[in-house]
Symmetry: C2
């Protein structure tokens, strides 16, 4: 542990980021259980003990690795801040998809989805993340007892968009720009935010 | 191979169904690569050679295991057959969610999603399945050059609904009946089928 591979200082930001990148890649490719701490260490070129030093347990590493590098509340908040009331949906989709497309966020988001769908603990983590971020923020836009339902319907639509664009890669959804998606999917989000529900 | 466990006749429908059920469970839980033919055979209580006899390769077993026990074209076709033009979306959601909820279809659908998201080959299989079924059927309802895009947007919304209801289990989405979901999500599907897109 005192001599990590390639002579990096333990505790450097680079080492920590390398471990997280390796964990995301292996959790996504192999699933949470199969991806071993040893394999993650090997990929990050560090001593396995360093992972324990930084993250404690494998679950601690998972939580850290799947935490988005941007605050979704901020992304959504900024996206809708200046939007006229009738274009909240379109603005939300444009802001979120632009963020998802960015190289800093995309691999984490894909890894979060891959891991969440294949593993119950990660599914709970995704549910909690959605609850704490998208659902909390959207609930703030809708001030009545339909808020939770509306927020989850927004989350469901956005999750399906992410799944189609980044994981299953439906060709027309992949080809559309964030602005085209905003104009196409925005009205559905607007419906969930402000339209009549069941 | 001549003496499968529990003395079943090789080739009986029960044995074949048991193998498929075991494969779906293990593919979903462990991912395609980690789920071994041997473990699937053990779970199904058959000789591994019998799996080869029935399905040839592991990929053959995957394709068979992830093929839905109902024809999605028929489900969607029947759902929208008698629907007035302005309620196509609502009817589609009601028919599809009712089918997804059914005990015969649900485990296969969940397994298809879990496996598809965690594995590229299964993702291709899900993309092909959507293309051959939902997208082909929906394209038939929309007769112009926006058909592919509309169909994929329908598929994305429905995939997000499935993900939220069965895998990530967002509480309000889980609690809604097929009819409530039809009335809430139907207008979005209607928008993708007939509304103005980007």
């Amino acid at each position: 542990m005192s001599t990590p591979a390639r002579g990096r200082r333990p505790g450097s930001n680079t080492t920590r980021a390398d471990i997280l990148a390796a964990a995301r890649a292996l959790f996504a490719r192999q699933g949470y259980e199969r991806a071993s701490m040893r394999a993650i260490a090997r990929r990050a070129r560090v001593d396995p003990a360093l992972i324990v030093h930084f993250f404690g347990t494998k679950e601690g590493l998972l939580r850290e690795a799947l935490t988005l590098p941007v605050d979704p509340n901020r992304v959504i908040g900024e996206a809708v801040a200046d939007a006229p009331a009738e274009h909240l949906g379109e603005s939300l989709v444009r802001g979120v998809v632009t963020t998802w497309d960015s190289p800093a966020v995309n691999p984490v988001m894909v890894s979060l989805f891959r891991t969440a769908v294949s593993h119950d603990m990660a599914a709970t983590f995704l549910r909690e993340t959605l609850q704490r971020t998208v659902i909390a923020t959207v609930s703030g836009l809708v001030d009545d007892d339909t808020a939770q339902r509306r927020a989850e319907l927004v989350a469901a639509q956005m999750a399906g968009l992410a799944l189609s664009r980044y994981l299953v890669r439906l060709p027309a959804v992949v080809a559309m720009s964030p602005d085209e998606l905003a104009r196409s999917v925005g009205p559905s989000i607007q419906h969930y935010l402000t339209g009549p529900l069941a």
